[in-house]
């Protein structure tokens, strides 16, 4: 894209525009996405539609029906994802007064479970974001997630005699390695043959899903009828903080640590600088003596490793075994997430928290308000569009005198 803004701004103006780019625009994009979701909820609600058909007789009735439909749905989402604030406060008071944990665990269940849902999002979002930084579009996080999960699950259940401090890192490493291989293949094909990584990573997704189906039916199948793997050994589990059914575990903090690591790698190391240089201008980077091939393979491998860790954290921390339809679209959500987080580790972590809340809350929205969970995908796609086309947001909210900085994300075929 040739429309890069000249960087001749004053520092103050630059700081203000960074704030707008990194905070205001994403926030407005999310808000607008949720608003569009509310419109969908309203127009698919029978009571709302009948109320609107009598709009001219009783306009207030139509508005209140709309409000109640949207409030029911989003209320269910909020309560499902965060929990009831009053109950949480009461539970904490009760805990400090009596020391009983039962009520407390029940009250914090929704929020901790949202954090459990965000854990793989952090890894997968970092994976896509890292790719964007190098000008690579990793749509393959889904497939890398699968093979990562398979790798760590296999190590998790097949090895039985290791102590946890060897077994757990080994299982995590296995997941990362499997994902890295899965990611490095399209990276190599891109660097060596100019085969576009978008189509190739998508093909790798389908192959990974078929591979999973086969493994669950055959080599990795547990005894019994269902196509699931055996449960992993306790020594390979990411330790949990609370007793079941709460699944909140060390994976979340591992995710935060990896995010910090990715930040350090991207912005404080020579290699990270090289990757960003290749991303923003491959020709200049090549001229400066950087190897495009090495960087593409390396970055796609790292992307794969991160997405593989996402799968590993899900298996070792939350699910403990793999069944069919295991991923539930983590890989695709992570694209929206990386864009929303402006491909920055901090932004990715925040966006991952938001998406974890949305995803987990949507399950109770589905059961309580009857809104199919797929509405989250619709909202996410709108968020992607609003983040990618800030002009729409500026136009909607009349933000005139704000300059929007754009970064190059991807390039055409074979470039």
């Amino acid at each position: 894209m040739e429309d890069k803004v000249n960087k001749t701004d004053q520092t103050d103006g630059k700081r203000a525009s960074t704030l707008v780019n990194n905070v205001l625009l994403p926030a407005l994009a999310v808000f607008t996405g949720l608003l569009a979701g509310a419109v969908i909820i309203a127009i698919t609600n029978v009571a709302t539609l009948t109320a609107w058909s009598h709009f001219f007789q009783s306009p207030l009735n139509a508005l209140s029906a709309t409000w109640s439909a949207v409030a029911t749905a989003y209320g269910a989402l909020f309560l499902g994802a965060i929990g009831n604030p009053k109950e949480i406060v009461a539970a904490f008071q009760n805990y400090f007064a009596t020391g009983q944990t039962g009520q407390l665990y029940k009250a914090i269940y929704p929020f901790t479970e949202s954090l459990v849902t965000s854990t793989p999002y952090i890894f997968a979002g970092l994976s896509v974001a890292l790719g964007f930084r190098c000008g690579l579009f990793n749509i393959g996080a889904e497939g890398q997630f699968y093979v990562g999960a398979l790798g760590s699950c296999f190590i998790g259940y097949s090895i039985t005699t290791l102590p946890w401090f060897i077994h757990l890192p080994l299982a995590l490493l296995g997941g990362a390695l499997a994902g890295a291989i899965w990611g490095a293949i399209p990276g190599y094909l891109k660097a060596k043959f100019g085969a576009h990584e978008v189509v190739n990573t998508i093909m790798m997704n389908y192959i990974a899903i078929l591979l999973t189906d086969w493994l669950l039916e055959g080599p990795m199948k547990a005894s019994g009828y269902r196509p699931v793997t055996p449960t992993i050994q306790t020594t390979a589990q990411l330790p949990r903080f609370f007793p079941a059914p709460l699944r909140f575990n060390w994976g979340f903090f591992l995710g935060l640590a990896v995010a910090a690591l990715v930040y350090w790698f991207l912005f404080k190391t020579t290699l990270g600088f090289e990757i960003r240089a290749v991303g923003s201008n491959p020709n200049a980077a090549k001229y400066a003596g950087m190897s495009i091939l090495k960087n593409f393979v390396l970055v796609m491998g790292l992307c794969g490793a991160l997405a593989g860790l996402a799968g590993a954290s899900e298996v070792l921390g939350a699910d403990l075994w793999i069944g069919q339809g295991f991923s539930a679209g983590y890989g695709f959500d992570s694209i929206a997430l990386a864009l929303l987080g402006n491909s920055h580790p901090v932004g990715v972590v925040l966006a991952a928290l938001l998406f974890g809340i949305l995803r987990f809350g949507a399950t109770s929205m589905q059961s309580l308000a009857g809104i199919p969970i797929d509405i989250i995908s619709v909202i996410q796609s709108l968020i992607i569009i609003f983040v990618a086309a800030p002009e729409i947001i500026r136009w909607l909210y009349r933000l005139r005198n704000i300059r929007v900085e754009r970064t190059v994300l991807t390039r055409g075929w074979g470039q």
Binding site: L189, F193, V198, I202, M203, I207, F332, W413, G414
Partner: protein, 422 residues
């Protein structure tokens, strides 16, 4: 060019020569270990050349091949090809690799059908059918990318159109209305993509991905919320009847394959010819290609770059709409979640392999269709390969094709770049 860069080029071509020669030898070895080792002398493989229908006036005898001699011949050919590459260099590479792939596929087929019979005509028929949505996706890609707009939203467009087609057809009890609605839906979604990338200059791949995610979510939402509640009212349309072209359908082998097909197949073939003619033999096509290769020059000559891009992307979307309709009212008569299964992306690979040329893209989609129908047929033959691995075939073929080992394609020069009017 300096001598240094020349020698470097020679060196790369030399390593390439050895690499390809060695891979051909490996292929021959694989054919020996996988296929020949697992056969017994005296076995035959029968390939049917007639459909079981009674109305074929001329019967052609089935092809019966002795398994082991055939495999020896095919392995011999592959070894000769390897020797050719190692001695004579990498000229006419595309042909060599194509022949090697052909030998491999035939030996696979012979091995898989040992002591069994396999309908060649049926196989060709399913190849054409599987290739149809891929070809339409590829044509959509050709249309928009010739005007320099990368469209990876084809998958999402087809998925959405598949749904609107079946709903409209079921509601009106008229399949043609379903087809028209699908075409219109394709136009609308393509127009959204066009506005996002041309007007708002959104990254073209990001926009396409957003539309794909939207399509997956929206169709699943509608399927769960409406279609599942009353299947007969909304999601049960029936399919287009097969159209038998009188006379031509009686030709042996070719007749039942080409002239006894459903409506969308004929539309596809016509569209391939029409788009090819439009792109290469009309002023409009010349303008489109100019906009795709050098928009600035086209603009200087008074061509409205933006308009050309809008029109092409939207026309492409309409073609993808036909492709979407194929999935429901063209084949099964109902909508299932995520039923396009990556066909849109495979279509993009066909477009690249076909060198952004409609006829090339159609031939490439036949290749993918062949891979697809091969895995379907193999599942019937009950050979000792898990069905999941066979199902990977079209995706693996896509990856191999994109490496450009078989033939390197050159995209339109301005492909994927937004145009800024000065």
């Amino acid at each position: 060019m300096t001598t240094q860069s020349l020698t470097k080029e020679q060196a790369t071509s030399y390593t390439r020569q050895i690499f390809i020669g060695a891979s051909l030898l490996m292929t021959a070895l694989l054919m020996f270990i996988l296929f020949l080792q697992n056969t017994k002398p005296g076995q035959t493989a029968t390939f049917g050349t007639n459909l079981s229908g009674p109305d074929q006036p001329v019967k052609i005898p089935d092809i019966v091949l002795p398994v082991q001699p055939t495999l020896y011949v095919l392995i011999g050919i592959t070894i000769l090809l390897a020797a050719w590459v190692l001695i004579r260099g990498t000229r006419a590479m595309g042909w060599l690799i194509s022949i090697a792939v052909f030998c491999f596929v035939v030996s696979f087929l012979v091995w898989a059908t040992q002591d069994n019979s396999f309908s060649l005509v049926g196989m060709l028929g399913t190849t054409l059918i599987s290739a149809t949505p891929i070809a339409l996706a590829a044509l959509c890609g050709v249309m928009s990318e010739r005007a320099a707009v990368v469209n990876i939203a084809i998958e999402g467009i087809m998925l959405t159109c598949a749904q609107t087609a079946v709903v409209a057809a079921t509601l009106t009890q008229n399949l043609y209305i379903g087809l028209i609605v699908a075409i219109l839906t394709g136009a609308v979604i393509a127009a959204i993509h066009a506005v996002l990338v041309i007007r708002f200059k959104v990254d073209q791949i990001v926009s396409g991905t957003a539309i794909n995610i939207f399509a997956t979510g929206a169709t699943a939402f509608i399927a769960k919320f409406y279609l599942q509640k009353d299947i007969n009212l909304l999601n049960n349309s029936g399919t287009f009847p097969t159209i038998i072209i009188p006379g031509l359908s009686k030709i042996p082998i070719l007749g039942p394959v080409f002239f006894d097909n459903d409506l969308i197949f004929y539309i596809t073939v016509m569209l391939v010819v029409v788009v090819h003619f439009l792109l290469f033999y009309t002023p409009w096509g010349l303008r489109t290609r100019a906009v795709g290769e050098h928009p600035k020059a086209a603009d200087t000559l008074g061509i409205n770059v933006y308009l050309m891009r809008y029109v092409n992307v939207i026309l492409g979307g309409m073609i993808a709409g036909v492709g979407g309709a194929y999935f429901t009212i063209g084949s099964v008569g109902r909508f299932d979640q995520d039923m396009t299964n990556g066909k849109g992306f495979i279509g993009l690979a066909a477009m690249i392999f076909g060198n952004w040329n409609p006829i090339g893209a159609y031939l490439a989609s036949l290749l993918f269709g062949f891979a697809d129908s091969l895995q379907l047929k193999m599942q019937i033959l009950s050979i000792p390969i898990p069905s999941e691995f066979l199902a990977m075939a079209p995706y693996i073929v896509t990856i191999i094709v994109l490496t450009g080992v078989i033939g390197r394609a050159i995209p339109p020069a301005a492909d994927g770049k937004p145009y800024e009017k000065q």
